[in-house]
């Protein structure tokens, strides 16, 4: 869809206090819980959102993930997920 509200990502993204990030045993995945709803996250989205604690700048999140998963050049992917999260109100 790509609705562009002209928002820019915060320097240090933080998960909105209106969403709860939680691992669900029965589903074997991380989910975001909010009033009467649940977003089922894929593993990479979960790893990104787990690091949105308001202390890490985006480049630090990217570097951490690249180290943790022995990959490179995932900056664009991380930014896209964060922008999507911001559009959907997950990122404050």
């Amino acid at each position: 869809m790509g609705l562009d509200f002209g928002m820019t990502l915060p320097e240090k993204p933080v998960l909105s206090r209106r969403f709860r990030l939680q691992f669900e045993e029965a589903q074997q995945r991380w989910v975001l819980l909010y009033p009467e709803g649940m977003v089922q996250l894929n593993p990479s989205a979960a790893e990104i959102l787990k690091r949105c604690d308001g202390t890490r700048p985006v480049p630090v999140i990217v570097a951490e993930l690249e180290t943790a998963f022995s990959v490179q050049g995932i900056g664009a992917e991380v930014t896209a997920l964060l922008e999507e999260g911001q559009r959907r109100g997950w990122i404050g």
Binding site: L3, F5, G6, R18, R20, Q22, E24, E25, A26, Q27, V31, L33, Y34, P35, E36, G37, M38, G89
Partner: protein, 379 residues
């Protein structure tokens, strides 16, 4: 006969993700569009605190993550705080679905301390007159106070307003009220015709023109809000399915993600399933929840696709809408396994068209308010 499912040929069930705990059918309001069973007065023996805790524990183990405390009015249960606290400890996201009657500052604080995550507050209208008339109570000011209490305790608030021909013309004022009260979400829920709403359908049914006008107001608000650059209140317009050509994906499919437990412990794949003929519904006080969810006749009656009749059986959209709503199929066609007649491929679709078209000529039928006397009269 409910479905053709062989009880031994069980479709593998995923986890129930939603547990709806209907704590009580008792309610201080008397709403004419209530979806509770018309014969609720015959339901005795509410589950005890310990029994509810057992249900919540079992459902959490099966995978339920969202928990709705509903009713009736769940605040009529004195043990609500205790149940919320236990649900929170179990890791549920806890939702209280309430009319607001019974919520004062002290109780709000206790629920906050217990870990309640969210409150959905119902309004009947943006005006005192219509709110109080439709619920047959004087609750309009109380609801305003409760809304402020919810925000003072930093809960996210979903405001819910059931729409019908009496309040559809007020939809913009209802939206403005939700924004003024700082609701994060507004659910504009066009009446679904079950329970008491089914009894009152001729009085509640809007015309197509009334509905289109309201929907245009909703779109106008959304456009204004987007242009402002700040989303303060997300407005959901729940589709009035009698006016559609395709059915809703009711419950996201029978026995797929939704598990409802009634005040007396009856476990149901849908909170309206009590009156469906041929279902062997089981009680949580007698059968382990895992057995009910995975193996019971009731939860498997319409699970998967084997039960489907034509035109659903070969329809390319059956994975999307799962054949629609079983309760609606039964109410309108007399067969719970029929295609939801809202679908224009259904041989019974004309009956839905007639229900809509005939309503304006049948407005003289008196409204029936939901109360114990009316319920007992129908036992």
């Amino acid at each position: 006969m409910a479905g053709s499912a062989d009880p031994h040929a069980v479709v593998p069930a995923g986890p129930p993700l939603w547990l709806l705990a209907e704590l009580t059918y008792r309610c201080p309001l008397h709403c004419v569009f209530c979806y509770n069973p018309v014969r609720y007065a015959g339901v005795q023996n509410e589950l005890s605190t310990a029994q509810w805790i057992d249900v919540m524990t079992q459902a959490r183990r099966l995978g339920a993550a969202q928990l709705g405390f509903s009713g009736g009015e769940p605040l009529l249960r004195d043990d609500l705080e205790e149940l919320v606290q236990e649900a929170h400890r179990l890791g549920y996201y806890t939702n209280l679905i309430t009319s607001g009657v019974g919520l004062n500052a002290a109780r709000a604080q206790r629920l906050k301390d217990a870990g309640l995550d969210h409150i959905q507050l119902s309004f009947q209208d943006s005006t005192r007159e219509l709110n109080d008339f439709l619920s047959h109570t004087k609750t309009f000011e109380l609801k305003q106070r409760v809304a402020q209490l919810i925000k003072a305790h930093d809960w996210p608030m979903v405001m819910n307003c059931v729409l019908h021909r009496h309040n559809l013309p007020h939809v913009r004022k209802i939206i403005d009220m939700a924004v003024a009260l700082d609701a994060e979400y507004l659910e504009l829920a066009n009446t679904q015709y079950y329970g008491w709403a089914w009894l009152n359908r001729d009085q509640l049914m809007p015309t197509h023109a009334e509905l289109l006008a309201a929907e245009a107001e909703v779109q106008r608000f959304r456009a204004e809000q987007e242009a402002s650059g700040a989303i303060r209140c997300r407005v959901l317009f729940v589709v009035p399915d009698y006016f559609e050509q395709r059915p809703k994906a009711c419950m996201n499919g029978w026995g797929s993600v939704f598990l409802s437990v009634a005040p007396d412990g009856l476990a149901m794949p849908c909170h309206n399933a009590r009156d469906l003929p041929g279902l062997q519904l089981q009680n949580v006080t007698q059968t382990p929840l895992a057995d009910i969810w995975q193996r019971s006749q009731a939860f498997n009656a319409f699970r998967g696709e084997d039960w489907m009749q034509p035109p659903c059986r070969s329809c390319s959209e059956r994975h999307k809408d799962f054949g629609g709503c079983r309760c609606q199929a039964f109410l309108i066609t007399g067969d719970a396994a029929a295609t939801d007649p809202v679908c224009n491929k259904s041989p019974h679709h004309e009956q839905v068209v007639q229900l809509v078209q005939q309503a304006p000529q049948r407005r003289q039928i008196p409204l029936v308010f939901r109360n114990d006397t009316e319920s007992r009269a129908r036992l």
